[in-house]
């Protein structure tokens, strides 16, 4: 069979307010992750290794970074006669219909507006994914289960801490197929009192006709989300909906502290996220990471339990941290429990503790950011991109620094207090 049968659609448009300054200039799916890659590389690599060769990416918020990152799709082998990755941004058309004059009003509306694209591919099943989760999954197993059950819709679920379950779609799955999955008997989106600890990964396999009809009907409503609207509507209509039980690692990065925690899951003796074993690929052209020379580690450097990519120059101390390409750590500086994006420069005798810094920040000499206690408890401090932090500045634990703070703002502020925001 030459024609790909599965069409995958990645929902990559959203911003997520809780990630704050990290999503000022990029959608959540394009946030750097893993020391050299981006969050969306995880679903894209999963698709590659699942042999799914037709992929569409629904993109709306500040899509430049994402478009640049996807490039031709060659990084994930998605170029060829029957292979391709298409980016689907919002668009205007000739109709006077209000539906089309607008931005994507939600994830379901985004797919609805591109139904002609979907139908043109005439898929046997449609795989809808979120672009901002970190996990390793072979979608073929789930698709096979979907066909075996002749389901209208199959949804992947993972067990989470019950205290966190209220933030996700939560299902009651019967034991029809034991550990593999079963029929969903109840589904609630973000319930206040979750009945189970099975949370939706936002990995959905649809029978095409079921999806088309559900999206048409959903247009009459005022809300256009898969989790909040489409799944409950299909449940109410008595469709055959199955839950597929996923048991691996799932990194959900909806808040700054979750994002920080997912980064820490890359570290340790046996890290939960093993990018090599997972076969993670990224676009090496993006930010020129393929051209970075191997890292230089000089005398006086100490690196402990950390990830360091090509292009780094280390003269200070780095512990429990992740350094993206082009990060420089000066002599006497200490970087602990931190995530430093591309091309940060940390000056001599700086101290960074539990900090996430976006790209292109320069820390002058003797700058102190975070609690300075070296403990992993406490709040994450976040610094937005393109900041030049003057010598000897103190930025307190849990503080937020907006991108592009001017020299005048820095000299006026003198520092940033614990939990304060500089913007």
């Amino acid at each position: 069979m030459l024609k790909p049968s599965t069409l995958a659609m990645i929902l990559a448009g959203s911003r997520v307010d809780k990630l704050n300054v990290l999503t000022y200039y990029r959608p959540k799916s394009a946030i750097p992750f893993g020391g050299f890659a981006r969050v969306i590389d995880f679903p894209l690599s999963n698709l590659l290794h699942s042999g799914i060769e037709q992929v569409a990416i629904l993109s709306q918020y500040r899509s430049y970074s994402l478009i640049n990152h996807i490039g031709t799709g060659a990084a994930w082998d998605m170029i060829g006669r029957n292979r391709g990755v298409s980016i689907l941004p919002p668009f205007k058309d000739n109709s006077d219909s209000k539906d089309h004059a607008d931005w994507y009003r939600g994830s379901a509306d985004a797919v609805y507006k591109n139904l002609d694209f979907v139908k043109y591919h005439d898929p046997e099943e449609i795989l809808i994914l979120s672009g901002d989760h970190i996990y390793k999954m072979d979608y073929r197993d789930m698709i096979a289960y979907h066909h075996k059950k002749d389901a209208d819709l199959t949804i992947a679920f993972v067990q989470v801490d019950k205290a966190r379950a209220h933030r996700f779609g939560v299902a009651v799955i019967d034991y029809e197929d034991g550990e593999t999955g079963g029929r969903i008997t109840d589904y609630r989106e973000k319930p206040e009192q979750p009945e189970t600890d099975w949370a939706s990964l936002t990995v959905l396999v649809f029978k095409p006709e079921v999806l088309y009809q559900a999206l048409e009907e959903n247009q009459q409503s005022a809300s256009f989300e898969f989790g909040r609207d489409i799944i409950p509507e299909l449940m109410a209509a008595g469709k055959k909906i199955y839950g597929y039980k996923y048991r691996g690692y799932w990194g959900y990065t909806g808040t700054v502290s979750e994002y920080w925690q997912a980064n820490m899951d890359l570290l340790g003796e046996n890290p939960s996220i093993d990018m090599e074993a997972w076969g993670l690929r990224t676009n090496m052209e993006h930010r020129g990471i393929r051209d970075a020379q191997p890292a230089l580690v000089f005398d006086g450097a100490e690196i402990e339990n950390s990830l360091v990519y090509n292009g780094c120059v280390i003269e200070g101390r780095v512990k429990n941290s992740i350094l993206f390409p082009g990060v420089e750590v000066g002599p006497g500086a200490v970087v602990e429990n931190s995530v430093l994006f591309f091309n940060n420069r940390v000056g001599a005798d700086c101290r960074l503790d539990k900090v996430i810094t976006d790209v292109n920040c320069v820390f002058g000499k003797d700058v102190c950011v975070g609690s300075g206690t070296g403990s992993e408890a406490g709040q994450v401090t976040v610094v937005g991109w393109n900041n030049h932090i003057p010598d000897s500045t103190v930025i307190g634990e849990g503080a937020t620094v907006y991108p592009n703070i001017t020299v005048e703002q820095w000299s006026e502020a003198k520092g940033v207090g614990v939990g304060e925001v500089l913007k």
Binding site: F36, S45, E276, A295, A301, I303, N305, L307, V308, N310
Partner: protein, 421 residues
């Protein structure tokens, strides 16, 4: 838009480089890995790219597969596009020109149809064997300003080393008035770097003139100096012919010196990192909680749990707990297992050193290799591609372990200084 006729580049990449011993057992010298993830030819190719030249022919001969895989379509050096391109020019048989290239000029002569199909004003002729950073655009400007037939890139080297090079005597206008190829009793310390700019027509005429003139340094240049306008283009900066194990090791060590004159990053050196066809990209280098690393270059995909000092590690090298790597160069995917020591050693790709072994032991640095005393005499030991060093083994100085040597090949627990396995 009228496209400017830019200079054509011919890169001579056929060199055997036999003094590099087992490092050139399965690849040509330009394809030998250097400074982590680079290969020697990346320096010439990147200089070409950074000089704005985009038409390149690469003349190969000796074991070209590794080189051809590395070059690919030339995307890594931006050589793809309508009027751009890198062409591999292997030896080929014809009606008269059968057989292998007999010398540098012979190699170019056998590809004269490539030259004729790509007319330009000048031809830049380079070797793919050297580590340097040079702007050929400036050299071309100089060539045009001097209205030269041939311009030769030259630099001052120590008098003791001139015997390896072509040497030129110049007048105050930098015109070369006399030439000695590899002189035993040199009269100058000005050495040819093997970098030439030829007037296009002049080069064709020279090649057509006499088929027995097979080498640029030996034949074409001396004749040009006697009859025509040949100028020296002075070069000041870092330039190394890494043709011996010792010079190759020193140039790698130069990269990790803090006050180093050589910086692939600052020079804008590009490489093709995808040549090895892996299913995943190399992730970040991982440093364990007991890692001790100083004064070293560490590439992506390395896992460091032991100690690394004054060493250059290519992608995917694993240094286990308690292991020590010192003053060494490890190619891609070498594994140094628990409590092993690797000292003053070059390991080719995928070497596995099982636990509690010592490679480079003792202090007899001056006992040369018995079989190859001219290759190994400074203490450096060589381990060939995919060799396996068994657990508990001790290997001395100036030793050679051939590629793909298996555990069973070691009959004793000790390999003495200067021995070859």
């Amino acid at each position: 838009m009228i496209l400017k006729k830019e200079a054509l580049v011919l890169l001579l990449a056929g060199g055997v480089g036999s003094r590099l011993n087992i490092l050139v057992q399965s690849r040509a010298k330009p394809a030998v890995p250097f400074a982590g993830h680079y290969r020697i030819i990346d320096f010439s190719l990147s200089n070409v790219m950074n000089s704005g030249l985009t038409k390149v022919g690469v003349l190969t001969q000796y074991k070209p597969l590794s080189l051809m895989r590395h070059l690919g379509m030339g995307e890594a050096w931006d050589f793809t596009g309508r009027s751009r391109g890198v062409k591999i020019l292997p030896p080929h048989t014809g009606f008269k020109d059968s057989d292998w290239y007999r010398g540098t000029a012979d190699a170019v002569r056998q590809n004269i149809d490539f030259l004729e199909k790509n007319p330009s004003d000048e031809v830049v002729l380079l070797s793919g064997d050297h580590i340097y950073n040079m702007d050929f655009h400036a050299m071309l400007e100089y060539h045009r300003f001097k209205k030269a037939d041939v311009t030769v890139g030259m630099m001052v080297v120590p008098m003791s080393e001139i015997y390896q090079f072509g040497a030129g005597i110049i007048d105050e206008q930098n015109r070369i008035i006399d030439w000695e190829e590899k002189p035993e009793h040199p009269r100058t310390n000005l050495a040819s770097m093997g970098i030439y700019v030829f007037d296009y027509k002049y080069l064709l005429d020279s090649l057509y003139r006499d088929r027995e003139e097979v080498d640029f340094g030996m034949h074409i240049l001396p004749r040009a100096i006697d009859n025509d306008d040949v100028f020296a283009y002075p070069f000041y900066g870092y330039w190394r012919d890494v043709g011996t194990i010792q010079s190759y090791w020193e140039a790698n060590m130069d990269v990790i010196r803090r006050d180093s004159d050589i910086s692939p990053a600052e020079w804008g050196i590009r490489t093709n990192i995808e040549a090895d066809g892996r299913s995943a990209d190399r992730p970040s280098a991982r440093f364990g909680s007991e890692a001790r690393v100083s004064n070293s270059m560490i590439s992506a995909g390395c896992i460091i749990k032991g100690t690394v000092e004054n060493s250059v590690l290519a992608p995917g090298v694993v240094v286990a707990e308690g292991a020590v790597v010192r003053d060494s160069i490890l190619f891609a995917d070498c594994h140094v297992e628990k409590n092993s020591v690797v000292d003053l050693t070059i390991c080719d790709k995928r070497v596995r050193i099982a636990g509690d072994a010592v490679v480079g032991s003792g202090s007899n640095h001056d006992i040369p290799n018995i079989k190859e005393p001219k290759h190994l005499y400074t203490g450096i030991s060589l381990i060939g591609k995919e060799a396996v060093i068994p657990s508990g083994l001790s290997i001395g100085r100036n030793c050679i372990v051939n590629s793909q040597t298996e555990e069973a090949a070691f009959s004793s627990k000790e390999i003495g200084d200067g021995e070859t396995v």
